[in-house]
Amino acid sequence: MTETLPNPYAARAGAHHLWEGVVRWIFRLGTYAILASGGAVLLNIVVKGLPALVTTDAPFINTSFLFDAPESLYVFEYQGQHYELGDRAFREFRAAHGNPSIDAESYVYSAGGIFPCIVGTVLLVVGSMTIALLVGVSAAVYLNEYAKDSRRIRFVRLAIVNLAGVPSIVFGLFGFGMFVIFLGWNVSLLAGWFTLAFMVLPVVITASEESLKSVPKGFREGSLALGATRWQTIRKNVLPYALPGILTSSILGIARVAGETAPIMFTAAYVVRDKLPWEVSQWGDFFFQGVMALPYHIYVVSSKIPQNDYTERVQYGTALVFMLVVAGVAAGSIVLRNKLRNRYKW
């Protein structure tokens, strides 16, 4: 007789099945929430920013928005026709029509483009990342290759970690007091470079140290055993292999440097500037001029001028261009990193 034994593995009634499902969905929703919010932000910027950036006729890109300086927008009726003209076009229009008195409504910064802001942001990123990499990589090399583990070095590391936690507005205030006032650099590229460089320094140092650590010890020993000095070893047989990792980390730094508004508010950014950075009488002035910058421009057109339909176009247009610039610079670094990485593999 074959009596079927009771199945000891049968599912038992109880809350834990239900609970398992609930927990799983909480985690899943949390993950999707990131995707949703990120997507919403991006989509919002793209949808609202595209009208400023594209045109209906060929070449479909609004080159004026990318390559002109900001202008005031004049909106008026003339002989029964509706006109929306930028500052320069408005004056030409009046000259062509015998300088009539036109009762136009003007909207500041709502016409023209954002070319000076793009240039300013690129200059700020390039300069500050150069300083941050020079100082940061030197510090990382010292900490990882030369320094012996001592109380003093542990204190330095602690200071680096703490520096990473300082809010960016505090860096701005420091830069204002140190570079703008004490050193007398005024609101300038140079002051902005150093302020931003100090801000990203902890990121660069920490990440550079990590990439130096990932270079096998055998490369150092092999080199030293051949009679290389420490510096020869580092220059020829450690740094080249650590460089891809250092660049990876600086990509994060680039996004941060380009995006921070607070540190450059008092140190480097102008609300508006007529001259482009290279239009200086002597080259030394280049470093001591303020620049327009994309994040600061977004702040200005969003909160410092009366809001209307025309300003929204500029706000989102600038935001979209800003994201594209950051993505472009980051993509450039990624390409460079991949090239280096393929050259040195182990």
Binding site: D149, P216, G227, A228
Partner: protein
């Protein structure tokens, strides 16, 4: 000035150090006298203590290494043989708080821990091959040229010549001559280790230290390295650390057996393996422990 003198006249320096025992009669506990062949010792280690911070790794080691001979250091893990090897080109300098706390190591009569010795210059004369083969992620050619380029040699014909000579010297030339400009990491494990040997001999050292050079290799690759060691013996003094007693027996002239940071016995390899004086040595070489 003292160093210059001792280079030419080692015995003068020895008599000056009254506390140090005479080299020809090693004191310490090592019962077997060092080699009595006609070769004079190139490396003279006297009463060396070595510490990693608080931990003492070597206790009063005294031994001599003969020129153009192969000397093997054997012993169980942690017995200090690698530490002693790394003292000979001061690689231990790289480790924090690791130092020779007593005794002297002289190479050709010069105390290598003396104030007038630059470890950089020392390492050019005393090359090293590591346990884990460590070719640089460069081409085979650049791996060999590295040591010369460090010394400022960039002359193409001289580099070419050295690369070929070194690769021939390391019995690797025929295998790689058609791919000198491909990565050294593309070679097999045994070839990589021979590349490292070629790299070491490219700077014309007097002594080559080998720290378990075959421990990661298969028997065939090991046989090739051992064959190579036999060839190199004509031109270089070789000190080899090995876990493998058969290897020490096969390819060394002299063997030193270490245990717990002390030199137990040193002598002619054949003598030490066939007729060990110390019961610990006998137990180890006959496989009863270690």
């Amino acid at each position: 000035m003292v160093n210059a003198m001792t280079l030419m006249e080692p015995s003068a320096f020895r008599s000056a150090s009254s506390a140090a025992p005479n080299a020809s009669a090693p004191v310490n506990s090592s019962p077997a006298p060092a080699s009595t062949t006609a070769h004079k010792p190139i490396i003279d280690i006297q009463n060396v203590d070595f510490r990693y911070g608080a931990h003492q790794a070597l206790h009063g080691i005294s031994l001599q290494i003969q020129e153009k001979k192969v000397t093997a250091f054997i012993g169980p893990s942690g017995c200090g043989k690698s530490t002693l090897l790394r003292c000979l080109n001061r690689m231990n300098d790289l480790i924090d708080e690791a130092r020779v706390t007593a005794g002297t190591i002289k190479i050709r009569g010069v105390d290598i821990n003396g104030p007038q010795v630059d470890p950089i210059e020392l390492r050019k004369r005393v090359g090293m091959v590591f346990q884990k083969s460590n070719p640089f992620p460069k081409t085979i050619y650049e791996n060999i040229a590295y040591g010369l380029r460090l010394q400022g040699v960039n002359d193409k014909s001289r580099l070419d010549e050295t690369v070929e000579k070194s690769l021939r010297g390391a019995a690797l030339w025929d295998e790689v001559k058609d791919r000198l400009h491909t990565s050294g990491l593309g070679l097999s494990g045994g070839q990589q280790q021979r590349l490292c040997i070629a790299r070491a001999i490219a700077v014309e050292p007097e002594v080559i230290l080998m720290d378990e050079p075959c421990s990661a290799l298969d028997p065939l690759a090991t046989a090739k390295i051992e064959e190579l060691i036999q060839d190199l013996r004509a031109r270089y003094t070789i000190v080899i650390v090995t876990h493998n007693m058969q290897q020490a027996a096969r390819c060394s002239d002299q063997t030193a057996f270490f245990y717990l940071g002390k030199l137990v016995e040193m002598g002619q390899t054949r003598e030490l393996f066939m007729n060990p004086a110390n019961p610990q040595t006998e137990a180890y070489v006959s496989g009863r422990f270690g």
